[in-house]
């Protein structure tokens, strides 16, 4: 007897064909949306760039550069020596070892993403933003980027405590926005596992950060905490031509790292004219925002000489009405600063020239 396939088998073949076409369609739609998101990032980045170039140009024409000559931005400063790490716009304590990344498991063959967190944007679950927690080296990592109607954006990462894949301990938050400088970070709330177990409503740690023009940066928290929920509040300061607020992070890593507590940096500061005296007042911009301080409070020391890796001839700092004149003719001095957190810049308010 010759076996022939039945009409049911025939139908299965047709259903399989249909399924294959549908799968293909789904894959093409995914590729299409991936390309559209990427184009949106590029378009917004370009527009932002144009706007910023205009602002910078206007500032320079207005002569703003006269007022900013004493500002030291560590990421682009002339650092002579020290124990430190540079990340994006910040200088941070030297990382001795990255113990773990909460959502990425390090293996010999690369990182594996632990998909056990929910990401909420403005209290709504947004699965496309989950990809920002993924290590950049993971193939198929999506783009966490979208345009929003309002500038205030609350980003929440919540771990599923019933599906814990290893420890959630972290002591640093590493942020890399798609469009550096287009957003301000206003507040960070950390809810830890202890709080979750005791039904605590309030966050275990709140950082009122007020970091304007956020770029790539690392934020160190007070101590190692086990993550349950992290809420980051942003304010987008750039509105694109279509009236929307673009927001996206290339990555948001929660890291547990060991830092060198003796971290410091020696920065060479050069002035165009001979310096007569240096006052104690400074403005520090760090991971908590900008604030007025003094050189003494920040533990900063100034020296006139740095030879053979030795700092010598410490400069007497003027304070109040009493001006301590530097006896040498110097245009350059060296600043030694302890690094115990992420610092962006220091602005000397009183550098008097001859």
């Amino acid at each position: 007897m010759i076996q022939k396939i039945t009409s049911r088998d025939m139908m299965n073949i047709l259903v399989n064909s249909q399924q294959k076409i549908e799968n293909l369609n789904g894959e093409i739609l995914t590729i299409k949306s991936g390309i559209e998101t990427r184009l949106s990032v590029i378009q917004n980045a370009q527009n932002f760039l144009l706007q910023q170039t205009q602002i910078i140009n206007d500032n320079l024409i207005d002569g703003y550069n006269k007022k900013i000559r004493n500002k030291i931005i560590f990421a682009i400063a002339d650092i002579q020596t020290g124990i430190y790490d540079l990340y994006g716009v910040t200088i941070c304590p030297k990382s001795l070892k990255t113990v773990s990344n909460v959502f990425n498991l390090k293996t010999e063959t690369g990182s594996i993403f632990k998909n056990n967190a929910t990401v909420l944007i403005n209290d709504e679950i947004n699965s496309s933003f989950t990809s920002m927690l993924m290590n950049d080296s993971i193939i198929g990592k999506g783009i966490a980027f979208a345009e929003f109607d309002t500038p205030e954006i609350s980003l929440e990462v919540q771990v599923n405590p019933n599906d814990l894949l290893g420890s959630t301990d972290f002591n640093a938050i590493e942020i890399l926005p798609y469009i550096p400088g287009s957003l301000n970070l206003t507040e960070i709330d950390v809810y830890d596992m202890q709080g979750y177990q005791t039904d605590e409503v309030y966050p275990a740690l709140t950082i009122q950060s007020n970091i304007d023009n956020l770029g790539a940066m690392k934020i160190l928290i007070d101590k190692t905490r086990s993550l349950y929920r992290l809420v980051l509040n942003f304010k987008v300061n750039y509105r694109n031509p279509s009236g929307k607020y673009p927001f996206g992070l290339k990555h948001l890593f929660l890291l547990k790292e060991n830092y060198d507590t003796d971290s410091y940096a020696v920065v060479k500061v050069t002035n165009k004219k001979y310096i007569r005296s240096i006052g104690e007042k400074i403005i520090v911009t760090d991971q908590n925002g900008s604030y007025s301080s003094t050189l003494q409070e920040e533990g900063i020391k100034l020296f006139t000489s740095y030879l053979n890796k030795n700092l010598s001839h410490e400069i007497d700092i003027s304070s109040g009405f009493y001006e301590k004149i530097i006896s040498q003719n110097i245009k350059t001095f060296y600043m030694q600063i302890p690094i115990d957190r992420s610092i962006i810049s220091i602005n000397f308010l009183e550098i008097n020239t001859k």
């Binding site: 390309i35 990427r38 932002f48 900013i68 716009v89």
Partner: protein, 76 residues
Amino acid sequence: MILYNVRHRGNYEYEKFALNIFQFYNEIIRLNKLINETSKKSLAEKITELDLIIDKFTEQLGEQILFFKLETENQL
């Protein structure tokens, strides 16, 4: 159930019918393979190129602009 009009259409009607379906299925497989090997591959390459452009902006150009902005802005 399919009824075959063997007297009217000849002995091989079933074979013809089955062959048509097989051919249709084979065509789908062929197209699927073609799309995977050509269009999808080239689209994946385009996505990688776009990612490179984005990375260049985020980690180089955007950062440089931000430094310059931080330098030129008037504080407090």
